[in-house]
Structure formats: C-alpha cells, structure tokens
C-alpha cells in the first residue's frame, strides 16, 4: 500500500497538485467550515497529515522531474523533486502538522479564524511550490507570493494599527526584490533559469553580485538582519500561532533551503573563500545582535523573536563554512530551531492567555500554574543553548566544529553568541521558576480556550527535541545524509564528550554570571540611559532608517517636481506672454511693419522645412 502511494504521488504531475493545489483546496474548505470547531480540527489534521504523507512519499521516491504545458515566456513550468528539496518538504510538512493543529485550536472562535487558516494553507502551498520549482522565476513566484498571505495575516484585527503589517511588507518586499535581481543575474549569467541545470556558477564579476543578492534575499525571508525588525514587532501584535508559522517556520525553512541550494548547487562555493567569510560574518552579526537584543527584552514573545534572529545567524555561520559538518549542522540546526522556537512561541501563547501578559517580570512563578509549559520551556531553552541530551546540542556541535576548521575566531564568536543566548534564557528561566511575593496570588490567571492543543503541541515538540538528541545519528547520518547527500561521521555520542563538557561549562558560567550580576544594582541587560532611549525610539531600526532616507529623497524629488511645474505653469506662459507683448508692440498697424513680420515668420517656417528635407 505504501509503495502504491509512493508510485501515485510521484507519477505525472500528481506531486505538483498534492503539494500546491491540495493545500489551497483544503484552505478554502477550512475557511468554509470556520464556524464548526470539530470539523476545522479534523480537516486541519487530515490535510496536514496528507501533506506529511505526500512529503514522505516524495522523499522515498527520489528524483522526479516534470514540465507542465502551460508555460509563459521566461516562466517555464518545470518542477523537480530531489534529495534536498524532498528533505525540506518533509521538514515543512512535519512542522506544519503541529502548526495546523495548534492553529485550529488556538484561533478558533476568533473573528478572522477562517481567513487566518486560509492564509496559512496558501502559505504552505507557496512554500511547497518554491521548493519543488525547477525554474528560478517560478520559484520566485511562489516565494514572493507569501508576501500577500503574510501581510494579510498581519492586517487581520490590526486595521487601526497596521504599522507591523506595513513594516513586514516593506522589509520582506525589499528582500524579495533583491532576490528577484539576484535570480535574474544568475539566470542570465548561466544562460538558463532551470535550477537543475545551474551548477557551479563562478561567484565572480556579475556572478558575485548575483550570489550576494540571492543570499540577501534568502536572509530576508529567514528573518535575518537587516530585514528582521518586523519580527519582534509582530510578536507583540499577532497570535503566537502566526509567530510559530511564519517567522518561526515557513520563512526560516525557505530561507535556509535556498541558502543551502545556493552554496551547494548553484554557485561554486569554496570553503574559506571571500563569499564564505562574508556569509560567516553576516551569520555572526545576526547571532550576537539577536542574542544581545534578546537579553535586553522585557517581553517573552519579543525575546523569543530576537532569539529566532540570533539562531538564524548561528545556522548561517554553519552554512558559511561550506564544510560538510557545517552544512549538516545547518540542516539539523534548522530542524531543531524550528521545533524549539515554535515550541517557545506556543508556550508564550499559553502564558499570554493565562496571565493576560507575556511581560517577563509579571509572570514570575508561573511554573506552579503551568508546570508542563515550564518544563517544555526548559527543554527548548536547553536545546537552543546546546545542552547535551537535546537535539540542539548536536547541531551546535557540528556548526562549531566547522567554525573551528574555518578559523578559531569564528569558533570563539559562535561560542560568545551561544553564551549570550543562554544568558537571555536564564533571565527568563529565573522569572519562570522564581518566587515573586508581589505577584503571587494575583487574580490575573484566566481560563482560556485551546489549552489542550497548546499543551499537546508543546509536549510533542519537547519530546521531539529530546528524542532527536538521544538518537541524533538518525538525524545527521540517515535523514540529512541521505537527503542532502552530506555525510559527516560526526553523529553519535562518542564524538561528543569534549563539546558536551564545553557546553556544560558555558552553561555554568552563564548561570554564575546571572546570579552574580542579579545581586548587583542594575543588570547585564541594562544599557545607558541615552542609548536606551534611542533604542526605544527605534532610531537603530533599519526600517526607520529606510523611511527617513526615503523621506529625504522624496523631498528632493518633490523640489525637482515643483521646479518642473514652475517651468510649465509660470516660466513658459510668462515668456510666451512677454513675446506676445513685444510682438504686439512691434505691430504698430503700419503695412510695412506687418509685411516685415509676415516675411520673418514665413522665413522661419521655410527654414524648418528646409532643414528637415535636407
């Protein structure tokens, strides 16, 4: 039966329909069923399970290639499944199963629940489409199409305050346009837009620009710096289901997928080359910036959003090494991060619903009210911090091994980033597990809907974190090794003793530092008053800087425009009027004067025609 399903899914254009059209159909179906909780949940489960089964079937089927007959010029409808894309399809489908179920529980009963679910499914279709497209332009169609659903969801319920939606549309729009330019340069350089035919394009001259733009576009999709600033803002404005789905999963998976393809397939990427160094530095900037910002946050959701930025930087570091250990670490790190960060957002949703706030200081001692959530938080935090036993440890280890081979400075910077992330988690952990007499006994706790869904989703994700750590070689050697064709021989516990010791020391150091500093007046996260006020005013936000620059540029254009209008509205009519007056004065009514003027006019017209005819 399984073989029959695999044959069915991989034959003709069935996989294209199953991965793109079927989610759209299910999305509309759920939208129609939006008033029936049970049917929504059943449909969400069935559709997401079907999507996962289809992705697994394609993973098993191997290489498939199809060309559809309705191609437009430059947009040949070619699709292909191969190792890496099928691996990412499985990642996406697995995460989507949880997100769909969690969303069905979480948003049901809300005003825009049906539309939200529709956008979620449309986005899944777009992500799947981008991964199976074998033409750069068609891939961009799916890739950029997510802008509509992303903006649509951010607008839901925020009609009066659409700032975050606008910010997301602008920042993601810019990164997508950069990607468009990158794709065009790449296809023109390679003289083909068929992705399977792109191989080893030299990253020099126009190719270097193309490569840089592709990476920037992918970084933007994954929510990396400098396109990240809408993510923390949306953490405050949107339900956690959105955060888990979009910046947490879809964007990151798609971004990392394309970065991996760019450096492993499309461009000739040499480990240690200039492109790799730039990529690693970009990764480190994201890692340290995101972790530092996370440390300073007062709100749990915003903190997790910055950790998402920081963790993307870490996997970018792995990709930038160009080494098999680094890329394997990037792929497994992506999977672990998506799980952990999705789990963290789900917990923050539960906390927000229960306590009416996600402000870290106000939820002190919540472990007593939500013990399962507290345990899950600990699992996710430890996994991201690279604590042995959990899956994140192995991906961190692989990336750090690759960073060591690339240069000790990258290794140290990577460790520093992990250290800062750990500190941020410890700060939140202390709030969760601490005692706060002022807050204890307050009546902020509420009963809320979707408790079962939230708890179930968080527990499943936490168990996955633990299981993927214990049997890590299945992930690194079998799944990633087979899917991406990257074998590292680094899986298993026998390689992990020294990294485990380093990780434990780092954790202990972070714990000590937090305890030490928390006894001092002020804290590590406090910044000086002036800098703090600038940060709070958003002066360093890339979006605000962009708006200021565009505003300045627009002022110049408006001045130019006024100048041009002045010429048309004042200068030319004025000149014509003056000439007319001069001619009027010149025409004194005498025949001789009239004849002179007439002859001059006729001579002028004749001269023009002579010039033309000559």
């Amino acid at each position: 039966m399984i073989n029959a399903f695999v044959d069915f899914i991989s034959s003709d254009c069935n996989y294209i329909i199953c991965m793109t059209a079927v989610p759209v159909i299910f999305g509309f179906l759920i939208w129609l069923l939006r008033k029936n909780a049970l049917l929504i949940k059943i449909t969400a489960f069935v559709s997401a399970a079907f999507n996962l089964a289809a992705a697994l079937g394609l993973y098993a089927a191997g290489d498939i290639k199809t060309s559809l007959p309705f191609s437009a010029y430059g947009f040949e409808a070619d699709f292909r499944i191969y190792g890496l894309s099928s691996l990412f399809l499985v990642f996406t489908a697995a995460v989507f199963l949880l997100i769909a179920l969690y969303s069905a529980y979480s948003v049901f009963g809300k005003k825009y629940a049906g539309l939200y679910m529709l956008c979620l499914y449309l986005s899944l279709a777009m992500v799947n489409g981008a991964m199976i497209a074998d033409n750069l332009s068609v891939m961009l169609f799916f890739w950029e199409g997510m802008l509509c659903t992303l903006t649509g969801i951010l607008l839901m319920g925020n009609f009066e305050n659409p700032k975050t939606a606008v910010k997301a549309l602008t920042m993601c729009g810019i990164s997508d346009l950069l990607l468009m330019l990158g794709l065009v340069i790449t296809s023109v350089t390679a003289e083909t837009a068929e992705i399977s035919e792109l191989s080893g394009i030299p990253a020099e001259g126009a190719g270097a620009i193309g490569f840089a733009l592709l990476i920037l576009g992918a970084v933007g999709k994954a929510g990396g710096m400098p396109f990240h600033s809408w993510i923390p803002d949306s953490a405050s404005d949107t339900p956690a289901a959105f955060m888990a789905a979009f910046p947490g999963a879809f964007g990151k998976i798609l971004g990392v997928y394309f970065i991996t393809r760019t450096i492993t397939d499309i461009y000739a990427f040499e480990p240690g080359g200039t492109a790799g160094i730039i990529l690693m530095i970009l990764g480190l900037i994201n890692l340290i910036y995101g972790a530092s910002k996370a440390l300073g946050q007062k709100d749990m959701k915003r903190q997790f959003a910055y950790i998402s930025v920081s963790q993307f930087g870490f996997i970018l570091l792995g990709a930038g090494t160009g080494l098999s250990a680094g890329i394997s670490g990037t792929l497994s790190g992506l999977f672990m991060q998506v799980i952990s960060i999705t789990g963290l957002f789900i917990i923050s949703d539960g906390v927000g619903k229960r306590f009416g706030t996600t402000e870290i200081k106000k939820i002190t001692g919540f472990y007593k009210k939500m013990p399962a959530a507290a345990v899950c938080f600990t699992v996710f935090a430890l996994s991201i911090a690279g604590f042995p036993v959990f899956g994140g440890f192995f991906s961190n280890m692989l990336i750090l091994i690759a960073a060591t081979e690339a240069g000790m400075v990258y290794y140290i910077a990577g460790l520093a980033g992990i250290f800062l992330t750990t500190l941020a988690f410890i700060k939140t952990g202390f709030a969760i597990f601490g005692e706060n007499k002022k807050q204890r006994g307050t009546k902020e706790e509420k009963k809320y809907t979707g408790r079962t869904g939230i708890a179930a989703a968080a527990i499943i994700l936490a168990v996955t974190c633990a299981v993927s750590g214990i049997w890590n070689s299945i992930m690194t050697d079998n799944i990633i090794g087979r899917g991406a064709g990257i074998y590292t021989d680094r899986g298993g516990w026998h390689n992990a003793l020294l990294p485990a010791a380093i990780s434990m020391c780092l954790l202990a150091l972070a714990l000590w530092l937090h305890i030490y500093i928390s006894k001092k007046p002020g804290s590590l996260s406090d910044t000086s008053g002036e800098t703090k006020s600038l940060i709070e005013a958003g002066k360093f936000d890339p979006y605000n800087i962009l708006i200021a620059c565009v505003g300045f540029y627009s002022d110049i254009c408006t001045a130019v425009e006024h100048g041009v209008s002045w010429i048309y509205d004042t200068a030319v009519p004025g000149a014509v009027k003056r000439v007319g007056m001069v001619l009027h004065r010149a025409d004194n009514g005498l025949l001789s004067r009239y004849l002179i003027l007439a002859v001059c006019g006729a001579a002028g017209i004749l001269a023009v025609f002579l010039i033309v005819l000559m």
């Binding site: 509509c148 606008v166 729009g173 340069i185 408006t558 041009v564």
Partner: protein, 471 residues
C-alpha cells in the same frame, strides 16, 4: 472581407460617437447602451483579429490614393494586443461611468469624447502609415482636452489646456520627425520603411512626441494635473488609452519598424530610470490621492519604456505584459480613487482613514490592483516586472536594473502608504458607504482580472511573444 473587421473596429466607435449626443437628446438609457455597444464592438473586432495575429497571417487592408499615397490597417500581434487591452479596460471604465457621471452636466459630450477617444486609439494601433498615426494621435489629444476640462471651471480648463498644449506640441515636433523620415525614405508606409536606419535627429524629434504623450520626465507635468478631471477620465488617460499611445508608438516605430543608433538602447532606459525614480519620490510625499496614482503612472510607464527599449525579446515581452498589467491595475486604482473621492468629496488622504471597514469591496479591489502594480505574485504585474528587469540585465546593464529595483521598492512604499492612509487606521468617515453597485462591481472586476491575468499569464504571454517575430 475579413479585413473590414478592423475598419469596423475603428469606424464604429469613431462615427458612432458622433451620434451619441443625438441619441442622448432622445434617451439617456439608449445613449448609455449605445456607448457600451460601441466600445464592445471595438473589443469584438480586436477579438476577431486575434486568430489571424496568432497564426502569423494578420488581417490587413490597404487603400491606394492619388499621387502615389496610400494608407492601410493591419491587425498584427502588437496591434491586436494593444487593441484588446485598451478596449477591455475602456469597456469597464464606461460601465463605471454609468454610475459616476450620471449626476453631472455635459454627459452627451462625455460619452461622445470617450467613444471618439477609443476610436482614435483603434485607428492608431491598426494604422500602417505615419500620417494616419499622426492624425489619430491628434484626435486623441483633442478628446483628452475636452475630457480633462469636463467640469468647465477655471482650474479644469487651465489644466486641460496644459495637457493639450504639451501633447500637441510634442506631436508637432514628432511630425517634423516624420517628415524627416519621409525625406529620407520617400514614403510614409511603415511596411516600406521596415528595417530602415533613420537619422538620430529624427529619433530625437519623434521621441519628443512619444515622451510627451507617455508623460515621461521632464514632459510629464500635465499628467498629475489632469487629475482635476472626473475619475473615469483619468482612468482612461492613465490606464487604457492616452499614455499607452506613446509607448505603443515607441514599440511600433523603434522596436518593430526602424533601426536606430545603438546609443538609444542606453539613452532611453536612462531617461526612463530618471523618470521612474523622480516620480516615485514625488508620489511618496504627495497627499492628493489622484496625484499619487498619477505619479505612479509616470513611474510605471518608465518600466514599460525600459522593457521596450532594452533591445531584446525578454524586455519586449515584459514591456508588453507590463502594458496589459498596468492598464488593468491602474484603471482599477483610479476607479477606486474615484469611488473614494465621490463618496468623501475630498482628495486629501490626510483627511481619510479606516475606509476598509465601511468600503470593504473598494478596499479589497484597491489592494489587489496595488499589489499588481507593486509586482507581487500571483498578480500579473509580477511577471511583467520580472521580465522587464531580466530584459535590462540581459542587455548587460545591471546598474540600471538595480536603479529600477530601487524604483520598485519605492512603488511598494508609496502604494502601501496610500492604502494605509485611505483604508486603514482610525475611521474618519464612519457613516460613508460603498459606491453604487455598478461602480463597485467595476473595480472588483478589474482587481480580479489583475489576479486572473497573473494565474493565466501564459495566455497573453503567447500573444506578446509573437510580437518579437514581427521584427
């Protein structure tokens, strides 16, 4: 006999338009119906010419005149593409007008001028002769003058005069260029001049006419000012007919017929880039809803010009698809702006806000059209923008492509700003309602068309691809 379909497509709206005031004296409903029938007839003639264009054997007709002169019409891929685009959007605009214009005076003249306008457009796109092209060109200027000055107040008349003077002056300069070409080739027939290398000074003179008609910097100033006209008129000018005449002429003359110096494949894109960037910058600071959309037109026309002028198949197809996508989307934007202006009696976006709650259909239609202009998939504008950018990169000019990407970023920013100011944020007019059903349906149809054209882009793409074969 079939070729008479083309002549019918020109003459029915041209001469039918002259009858409309008479019919209007008898019955308003009959006049409105007749106006719709005239435009539908023009659209039908273009559809009938489509099979010939697709097969590579276009409908053609030619008339010999005394003194060795002649004129003719042909329905090749480019002509049919333009005719179908212009008449489809014009038809929707006229349907919309039924709701918009019914409270105003001078309706008879309005419908007459609109149909005359479409007839002139049909004549221009099917013409195979430079003098015929010039004649229809000037008829369109005349219609434009009367339509911009529709309200007859001082301001409207002044702006109408400005548009008339700029476009007619441009056309006269272009005519000198035509004479120069005649002086060199001894004919006005395009077919006879095909492949002829024309002197650069004639190219410059003709470009004057084209750039003034297609409102390209610095000859663009009349277009934002034309916003004083009723919204269906501005929609007609910006989306369906007037400004598209300029880019059509560019494609017909400089892409398909003549050979020009290679320097023009750099000069024209540079002019387009300057136009795109300055108008996009101005749009970002403008507070009049129609002027924002007007600056957007100037900016987007530069993309069309870029596509047509970059000298390769990708750019040409991109430019043509851009004409289609922009016509539909910009038509929708202006008609939405018309509904807003008609309902709120203001064009100042600072006084608007939160209209998405009270005018949801208009908001959705506006958003769909804006997304298409921004070039976001699955809307048709995405494909056009992508191909235009690819065309310029193919021609080896990555820097210019980057400039146009910056322009695209600006487009996203000013259209988003416009949408927020008008439709989102706190409600400033809580009691307003949607426009009339016919107006609302019109904008929704254009929004949905922008989407459907994206999903089925392979259909217009096939026709656009054939244009390259005409070269």
């Amino acid at each position: 006999m079939d070729a008479w379909i083309l002549i019918a497509g020109i003459l029915i709206p041209l001469f039918g338009a002259l009858l409309l005031p008479v019919i209007g004296k008898l019955s308003v409903k009959a006049r409105n119906t007749a106006a719709l029938i005239l435009i539908a007839a023009a659209f039908a003639s273009a559809v009938c010419a489509l099979p010939g264009a697709l097969s590579g054997d276009p409908l053609s007709v030619r008339f010999e005149l005394p003194l060795g002169l002649s004129f003719g019409f042909t329905g090749d891929a480019l002509a049919v593409f333009m005719a179908m685009t212009a008449t489809f959007v014009s038809f929707i605009i006229v349907v919309y007008s039924l709701g918009y214009i019914k409270h105003y005076e001078n309706q008879n003249e309005y419908y007459m001028m609109v149909c005359l306008f479409i007839g002139a457009m049909m004549g221009l796109v099917y013409s195979t002769n430079l003098i015929a092209i010039y004649t229809f060109w000037e008829i369109s200027s005349l219609c434009c003058w009367r339509l911009i000055g529709f309200y007859r107040d001082d301001m409207s008349v002044r702006k109408a005069n400005k548009a008339f003077i700029v476009t007619v002056l441009g056309a006269l300069i272009m005519l000198i260029g035509f004479m120069g070409i005649y002086g060199q080739t001894g004919t006005f027939e395009l077919a006879a001049m095909k492949g002829a290398h024309i002197p650069s000074w004639t190219v410059v003179l003709i470009l004057f006419g084209i750039l003034s008609k297609s409102a390209t910097f610095p000859l663009h100033s009349w277009l934002p000012d034309a916003g004083v006209a009723p919204s269906p008129v501005t929609s007609l000018l910006h989306a369906a007919v007037l400004v598209k005449i300029g880019v059509y002429a560019y494609a017909r003359l400089f892409v398909i017929t003549f050979r020009t110096d290679d320097s023009f494949t750099t000069i024209v894109p540079v002019i387009a880039a300057v136009s795109a960037l300055i108008s996009a910058g101005a749009a970002f600071r403008e507070n009049d809803i129609k002027r924002v959309v007007a600056y957007s037109t100037i900016s987007q026309l530069a993309y069309i010009l870029l596509g047509l002028s970059c000298g390769n198949q990708t750019g040409l197809i991109g430019g043509l698809l851009y004409i289609l996508a922009h016509s539909v989307a910009k038509g929708g934007l202006f008609l939405c702006a018309g509904i807003v202006e008609h309902t709120l009696h203001t064009k100042d976006i600072r006084k608007m806000g939160g209209l998405a709650k009270t005018m949801p259909v208009t908001a959705v239609a506006f958003a769909m059209c804006a997304l298409s202009v921004m070039g976001i998939p699955p809307f048709s504008g995405f494909f056009a923008k992508h191909l235009v950018i690819e065309g310029i990169v193919e021609s080896g000019n990555i820097a210019l492509a980057a400039v146009f990407i910056a322009g695209a970023v600006m487009t996203v920013m000013y259209l988003t700003r416009l949408f927020i100011k008008v439709f989102l944020g706190p409600q400033t007019f809580p009691d307003v309602r949607e426009g009339t059903p016919v107006m609302t349906a019109s904008v929704l149809i254009l929004g949905i068309t922008a989407l459907l054209l994206g999903l089925f882009i392979f259909l217009p793409s096939e026709l656009a691809s054939l244009v390259w074969g005409l070269i």
